[in-house]
């Protein structure tokens, strides 16, 4: 456990307050900007090839509250989310609310998202550390090769290649679907989503571990005659993982957006599917609901990562 220094308490608290002070306007900007964008769009959700009679249109708009002024609509919307976690009705699926759609899609996105995140961090970290410890051996070359190669294999390239190999050629895995999260249906989405982040984490860990291993305090530890194992685990690991922690935020964002690809290629039916679908159908309510939910998650995750970083590394708090 990292120690909390006595002098650090107040600074830590200060840092947290300042960090939260950034997160709140960020969320507000996200909500207001997406709301205004939606309403700047030419044509409403009920404009279609065959125009509705004006009275009918007016009735429908009144039902959805679209006849009020934009600030009032925005205020009601924000209040609804904050007080009742209510994202309003969907414009496209007449019988479902945005909450229903989130309740259906989110657990799926969450399951394969968390798994991919863990795979990327654990496998990437392990690969990077073992490559650094055995620098210039075949293991190192393998790790470097993989991490360079995976740089150009983003999720939308990995996904078709995986399906091609494991479904069309080998016939080992189902090419898509969710099937309530059976492991066969999880393997390819998780690999496709995690590969490029695993590679980045491996590269980061390797280079920072190499740097730490060359530093003076490690030389001192060696001079004391500590076994290599405890040098790595007790002394080198923590400072070496610091840059990796600051990469977790971008990785999280990347995986959330990457889930759009996963849902559209593998048909897993997560939030990404509904988001992309609503983008085609101009279902603004769903688009906004998903944007705000996932956006808030991202902003909060980034905040937690930053605070975690400051907690581990006292230099940041100043």
């Amino acid at each position: 456990m990292p120690q909390l220094h006595d002098w650090g308490w107040e600074k830590m608290l200060n840092f947290m307050i300042r960090r939260i002070a950034i997160a709140i306007p960020t969320l507000l900007i996200l909500v207001v900007a997406s709301f205004l964008l939606m309403h700047a769009a030419p044509g409403g959700p009920f404009t279609s090839e065959r125009p509705l009679p004006p009275q009918v249109l007016a009735n429908i708009e009144a039902k959805y509250g679209l006849n009020q002024s934009i600030p009032v609509q925005m205020w009601n919307y924000i209040v609804g989310i904050v007080t009742q976690f209510d994202f309003g009705p969907s414009f496209q699926y007449k019988d479902r609310t945005v909450n229903d759609i989130i309740a259906q899609g989110f657990p799926i996105t969450f399951t394969y998202g968390i798994l991919s995140f863990l795979v990327a961090v654990v496998a990437g970290g392990a690969l990077g550390i073992s490559a650094a410890i055995r620098q210039n051996t075949w293991l190192d070359y393998f790790a470097v090769g993989v991490s360079i190669g995976a740089q150009v294999l983003p999720n939308f390239v990995m996904a078709p290649i995986l399906i091609l190999i494991f479904t069309l050629w080998l016939g080992w895995l189902p090419g898509g679907g969710w099937n309530s999260g059976q492991w066969q249906h999880l393997i390819m989405p998780v690999i496709a989503l995690s590969t490029s982040y695993m590679a980045s984490i491996a590269r980061l860990t390797r280079s920072s571990m190499l740097e730490v291993l060359r530093s003076n305090f490690i030389r001192t530890a060696r001079a004391k005659g500590l076994p290599e194992r405890s040098i790595i685990l007790r002394h080198a690991l923590k400072p070496a993982l610091l840059p990796v922690i600051s990469y977790l935020g971008p990785a999280f964002v990347g995986m959330i957006t990457g889930s759009f690809i996963i849902d559209s290629v593998f048909g897993t039916g997560g939030l990404g599917y509904f988001f992309v679908n609503s983008a085609f159908n101009r279902d603004y309510a769903v688009m906004m609901g998903v944007t705000i939910l996932l956006g808030a998650l991202t902003v909060m995750f980034n905040m937690v990562v930053d605070i975690l970083y400051a907690w581990i590394d006292p230099k940041i708090r100043l």
Binding site: L30, L37, V157, L164, I261, A279
Partner: protein, 310 residues
């Protein structure tokens, strides 16, 4: 009469004179030498030039235009639409009977253009913003950088997709959307560099001689940032290409008949179950090769321009 030692000295002096004036090596000449010695970067440069030539001159060899439908093979793409020289479809045909070669040429044009233009926007906006914030400093600096912090923590892909949906899916909107976010990282990097530059003597000298602030930023700060900016701009190009391909893969980017690598890979993905693998293979090949080339060139430039590693 000279004694032997004097004679020797004179000889040496003559030899030295014959060598001619020793030329000073500038930072850029040095960097060029280091870059040229980097094999991976040089190979990548050649590859990249080949891809660019393919993208911008490839049309002259095309037998079909990108919109023409080859009715002879339509409905029988798997058997008759494969890559062949005789039919004129060098890369085969897509599931609608269109020539894949000219579509890949066009997709390459658009992908490369998005990458380069996005990177250029980042260079211009990011450099000016960062240099200004860093040089002026104080409250202006902290407000400007706080804005960057906030914009950076917004998940931009959502905003980009919202923009494209609301204002229509077009290349122009992609440029606007990418331009909105691309400069953020650049402005941070440039600001950091500016902070370390602004207390140097030559800036002090410029201030003392009464040069105005905008001129100092443009004439004295910015040229000294060029190394960092060039490296980062090169590494930004593949990131821009990735972003555009991501959006086009979802079908939210460029619209038919225009295409890009992402859109082509997406088409290849949806048709690979019919066995027309060339539809996936060719766009994927160009995409991967180009990205590799840009990353290696960026790394090479960083090694060449970063004096720390000398």
């Amino acid at each position: 009469m000279l004694n032997p030692t004097q004679k020797k000295t004179a000889e040496m002096a003559e030899n030295l004179a014959a060598l001619g004036e020793i030329k000073g090596r500038s930072l850029w000449a040095d960097a060029r030498n280091r870059f040229v010695r980097n094999k991976a970067a040089m190979v990548s440069l050649v590859v990249l030039i080949l891809v660019a030539v393919f993208a911008f001159l490839g049309d002259t060899f095309a037998q079909w235009s990108n919109e023409e439908i080859d009715w002879n093979i339509l409905g029988n793409i798997k058997a008759a639409g494969g890559p062949s020289i005789e039919s004129g479809h060098f890369f085969g045909a897509d599931d609608m009977g269109r020539d894949l070669y000219s579509r890949v040429v066009q997709g390459s044009q658009i992908s490369l253009m998005v990458g380069v233009v996005g990177s250029l926007i980042a260079v211009v906006v990011g450099t000016l913003y960062g240099a200004f914030a860093g040089y002026v400093g104080g409250r202006v600096d902290s407000i400007m950088m706080r804005i960057v912090d906030i914009l950076m923590s917004i998940p931009y892909m959502f905003v980009l997709i919202l923009l494209l949906v609301v204002f229509g899916r077009s290349i122009f909107m992609i440029f606007v959307g990418i331009g909105l976010i691309a400069w953020l990282d650049m402005s941070r990097i440039v600001r950091g560099q500016t902070l370390s530059l602004k207390n140097k003597e030559f800036i002090e000298a410029a201030i003392a001689t009464g040069v105005s602030t905008p001129t100092i930023i443009l004439r004295h700060i910015v040229p000294n940032l060029l190394g960092v900016v060039v490296v980062y701009a090169t590494l930004l190009v593949p990131v821009m290409i990735l972003t555009e391909s991501f959006i086009s893969f979802l079908g939210l980017g460029v619209q038919e008949p225009l295409t890009s690598w992402g859109a082509l890979i997406s088409e290849g993905t949806s048709t690979m179950q019919y066995g027309t693998l060339w539809q996936l293979g060719f766009p994927l090949f160009f995409f991967v090769v180009t990205l590799f080339a840009f990353f290696f060139i960026g790394d090479g430039l960083r090694d060449a321009l970063d004096p720390k590693d000398r």
